[in-house]
Symmetry: D4
Subunit: 247 residues, 8 copies
């Protein structure tokens, strides 16, 4: 029920086509989303970026392709996460780009990117998650950069790139094993840091719990942490923060 | 070793008072912080807000008071976290304000606050952590608001205040037990949400781990999570994000 | 040993064919189930619905089919849980219906269903467990309804269906990840809520433990929780509660 | 905003005291609870029993007493959970009854109790939680009974009381340590069973987690489980189910 | 170095062929096992039963067969645990018997079994572990019996067989899921009970940890617990205890 | 209902004072414990040793003393576990003996002890649990010995006492921290070993879980494990096993 | 930027080709690794041994072979860890040696080994990890020895080899299951002991956590522990310590 | 039985005062520690440093003082760990020095210290554990240095002291919370690093488990880890390694 419907209802009541009792009843029974149009409208502005994202993992190839095509019809763009090359072949759209490390398929990248999100990863095994974060932030409209394989075992590599750190508005730091890199980066910058633990490691890495807990306990105050291997979530969060600087 | 020292060194070498060998050796052995002055200078700008924070828990009353007074001498302001009323009495400064729920003592609040950080808490037992977050963000320079006791068991209380949600730049959501509130809030807004799990609860709340894991697994993408009961960290993070909107 | 056997024993003793000593000994050694016939008889009334359920997972295809056919011979109905389409093909009974999402095969649905059990699920990945719950409750004799994909990230979808909530006698809420949905539903209704955590999620979802603990810690008092992914158990429990309203 | 307010609004619009634009805006900004009166009204019927419950643990003695007295003024009854005798003395109301094992204070018990909730406990150490469950169910309006100290180590004690089991509508089973009792009871009855794990035990009882997990894994299908030591929650749930049989 | 060697050494010293210094040095450097012959001899008596057991899991088929044949050459008997039918085929010995449920191959069963070990299992899924326990105890020389599928959900099945319980010297109880059966059995007998948790179950069964912790927390004092799925260990322990009654 | 009651019932029926219908009904409703007299009688023989044990921890001093005195009246002996010296003073019975390390009070030790239970402990901090095990076994009628402070860090102390090991029928090994001692002892003897983990240790000892898991994973097959700090349970189990050798 | 670059910079400045301002700026912006050459040079001495190690697991066969060949070109030696025989075949270098148990490929072993590292393993299943440790230490330049299958269940085997223990400079002890062997070895020697837990075991071995925690809680002070299955890390650490004795 | 006793035994046998049979029997029954004198003698050299260490925590004040005095009588030196100032007062020996942060009392420090052990700590709360490590290593004979409060949040403080790092033979790194510091230090040096996790932190620091797991998962190969808060163990291990460089 949009504004027009409520308007009509009010007019019907004013002009006597609707009794008070009936008007009240209709208003009481309005579905939530209809009445709450201010919020829903506003919401849609944001939601507009999210429905275009398709999580491929638990869907069949044909389903994913069908949803992607429908999305393309409607708004000329979509982002598929946790996809396989198979899906990309089936899709057969040259406008779409496939990212093999993270298994993402992006279509309809915006021309104008804003601000600056820097994605740092500790080891080569963390790259899939880092790429997922970067592609997500980029698809949502953030300008992005990357700095890979700068783990704490060879920390001079990080220091030699400190100009890159200073240029970013938001920094995503992806690390598995001991998860120490976000703390080191956080100690070198005053930008918001989004820490992403990965499930890289074995034994007491506990599938990423150690890196996660390590990041939550960082001695650097004010670090944002997301779930294990959640590159997509980190990209969304970094984009939201990055956009704050553009308003 | 500041710029002048390096300048002098270069001049000494140019004018032959220093051999090539000696000049190289001196440069090699420069302490890190001296050479890295650009970064350190820049860094200090940020660090300037953090050294004024004193963590009282593991210190004796006299220590805390002495540090606070020294801080006051130097920069006319300080923030003490996890303090007791005892410390406040001993301090005896009427410029300082004591927050009994969170045990914070703030002195030298800035006149001009910027932006808007909204702190929402689920239950009355979560208030100490919520207050810690709010006082921290406020002390650092953010304008803050609060919305307490709006847990998911009575979710209409939250909906009736949705205008407050829409006015905030960043929202901190504090919740213990099942930690569901940040997901609900995150579904109603497109602002960055900082979720703070608390140790409130018993049995399977596992000292806050359940709320923490719940928040990390939120079906709402892009939520920032901090450590259990870490109101201070949430306040710092929210302030950093809030300031992005003011640059 | 049924009633007749005890009767015969008593008669044998009365008429001197059995000594006191022998009669006592026979009574002492009566198998439990024989003597306890009142309870067993009563019990059977209930058990009558349960033996017809066949758990397929740890059995070979031929075994399952054989048990199902024998069951069909005896009482014209059966329910197979955790089955595959393979088993359904092998079975080759058109009276039976296969539910692919949950892997259930139901045969001999009762004509008259009673009361009303509403099954709500948070995400599309939770549907297999939700379907298991619904089919189980329906097979046992409850009238059922469903409300899928109404997770807390888009909570207005739930509110727009609140009439459905008010019509149900018992509500089953199925959710993985952060497990917040049962708390939200529980805050909107006074019906008994059966919460079913699922293993949907990754990282700190810990195979469903986070959703489980979240539900056990709900700030809404009086919610029933079952084991992770235990749709069948939830269906049984909801049916038992639903039947209370029909007596 | 109650029905009258909406009625007034509609009249104001009809009679031209309110423009279409203004009327629309007012309707859009109606607080949730006001518009949703149907639900809220219905809800209040249930909520009416819950606000009378005061959780004493995290409140000061004077606070608890003040809330209880205010409650008494308003509706002549209240229930205080996790209280101490101290609070009872301070309260000084002879209409109120103190239950020392569970630390509950009940005032204004209803005359007519309905249905039948049986509370069974395994060991003497489980009695505080069992009593909390029983007093809660009783206060809410259920007729209750108790069967204490019938743990599985002496299971014949349970069997000798099987008539009591058969008379109950709902059975609450409270057990710590290995948490086996609910499974045994559940195998002897077809009534809904609410299982309450307690933190009684040491070593691998893990503060009640072992009993909880044990209950969630019961080989008896359809058992409702609540949080560790959550007697109050079990009482609420059992009461809701019990009431189903009275409608 | 056996007794003769020490004897020779002493004689050499006595007759001057060995200096005091040299004799002392030789004694100092005696390998432990040589000197400790009393213990070793005695030990061998026990060890004699254990080396005949071959753990197949981490060995290749050919290895297992070769070891089994060598063992057969030496002592006419062997027991292979965690074997496959493949190994049994490869072995090609008709003196050997294959147990498909537990994957054991036994050869050279002793004619005379002693005492009585009763193996009880809760569900049909626990049978592989139960069979492993029974075959192990039997191979080591204990007379064994079995009582399968008598879980607590249908506890009358256990009671109807209580004579079997009373005849056993030692009782092994195998159970997964909630692990309640050993407590119930332990409450019905004064024989030593060996409880074996299995990894049967899902969700909060935590791979058998719940059953294990449940058994360790039994309210029945004096129950012996072994590792999850450790049927072999339970069989060894029960045999040792059973043999105590035969000395 | 004892044998006489059933006898009377049978006679009443035989002589016509009881109809068939009434006799059947009475038999059906016999309380379990009455019918099951064979088992109960036999059971009582064992139970006779257990009711004399009083667990003091969760009882008030006066309660413990009253129960102990009543017990003394009835059977001249009792055992109090987890007691304090306070209770011993209050009891004021010089026939009773107080064991301060374990907090046990034993009264009415049997003159003739049988068999031999050896209690070994790893460190001095494990002595309270070791003493609890020894006093329990001794009170129940086993002859006991002790070998304290022979941890694996100085394993030669254990070897120098290997004669003691060989004389025991059953060996209880008590160890905290890494829990390695039972494995070493188990490798040196063919007697049944009862392993008792203690909560001694810090950090990764996890309150005794590490010692417990270590013992359950022993490479020595056939070791019995009990709960953390459960000296009493170990004593009961060792006594049961020890008695097997005396029948 | 190496020494020559800095030298050139200084000369340029001295001879006026570079202004003071420009020289300062260049020095400020020197990448960390260039300026820090002293450390880097020194570091390289150590790093020289580590870059030659290739972790094969997360790389494709062709990648591993290409890296190994490039490494061979550069320094005539390399070590591949977690490789398969497939990789070895593909590599086709007869200078390289393949270790099937641990999956290592070593090429260019140094002629002169130093000191002495003894690798002890508890069971045959621990050999892959033990071999990884030994090959790593050997490749890095340590002389190594091995002592396999000397677990605590047959501890006399260890004692009979105590001369080997006394000859080693460093001892690596590899054990799964209960992880008791390092404690026993540590009690027999004053050499540094490096304890390596393995994931060998089942049930409560918890994938090696039990062995790890056991080792960290050893009653022998001063034992070094590494991650579960981390044979390579243990080899590196033992080599570093061993080399201390050679300086 | 020392060398003399064996010598006497041999002489008695040589001179006929002892029969062959009797001599053999005596040798067989020699307590382990007596025969194994070579090992024990050698061992004592090491043990000589350890018996002088008294763990005060689980002992009464008088006990600790008595043991310390006896120790002083015998060898003029002792080290008390986990002591209180109370004990120091009671001891009243001015030769002894009290370290309040770690609660150690050292007496009889050796004049000549060897090598160099550097103790680094991350935060001020880690100092008690760091001091325990340093005092232990120093007491055992190592020359020690300290570098406190150089956590990763301000990593330039560490870099400015890299000469100290390069001078040390062994480095102990003490850190709580995220435990990242050892990885950073390990990346800057090729010396053996002993990592000590502390229980400093809250929430997901899990009492030090997170720091421990973080250290075990370090991306720097070859780091030695000890138990949580185990400064004493770290000191012993570092001393052993340090001594390797002095042989």
């Amino acid at each position: 029920m949009d504004t027009k419907t409520v308007q009509a209802l009010l007019n019907d009541f004013k002009e006597g086509r609707l009794s008070m009792e009936k008007a009240l009843q209709l208003l009481k029974n309005l579905p939530f989303e209809d009445l709450e149009f201010a919020k829903v409208d506003h919401h849609r502005g944001f939601r507009g970026t999210i429905p275009e994202v398709i999580y491929a993992r638990s869907k069949r190839k044909e389903e994913v392709v069908a949803i992607a095509r429908a999305m393309y019809e409607k708004c000329r763009r979509f982002l598929i996460t946790r996809a396989t090359e198979d899906i990309y072949q089936e899709l057969g759209m040259k406008e779409a780009k496939y990212y093999p490390a993270s298994g993402m398929i992006a279509c309809g990248e915006r021309q104008r990117k804003k601000g600056s999100v820097l994605v740092i990863s500790a080891g080569t095994s963390d790259i899939p998650v880092a790429e997922e974060a970067e592609v997500a932030a980029s698809f949502l409209g953030s300008s992005t950069g990357r700095l890979y394989d700068v783990g704490v075992a060879g920390i001079h590599r990080l220091f030699s790139r400190r100009e890159a750190l200073q240029k970013a508005r938001v920094i995503i730091v992806v690390a598995g094993m001991e998860g120490a890199l976000p703390s080191v980066v956080g100690g070198l910058t005053d930008r918001p840091v989004v820490a992403v633990p990965t499930s890289v490691g074995y034994g007491t890495s506990l599938g990423g719990l150690t890196a996660l807990f390590s990041m939550l306990n960082s001695c650097v105050p004010g670090m944002a942490v997301v779930n294990i291997d959640n590159g997509f979530g980190a990209g969304c969060l970094a984009h939201k923060i990055n956009m704050m600087g553009s308003r």
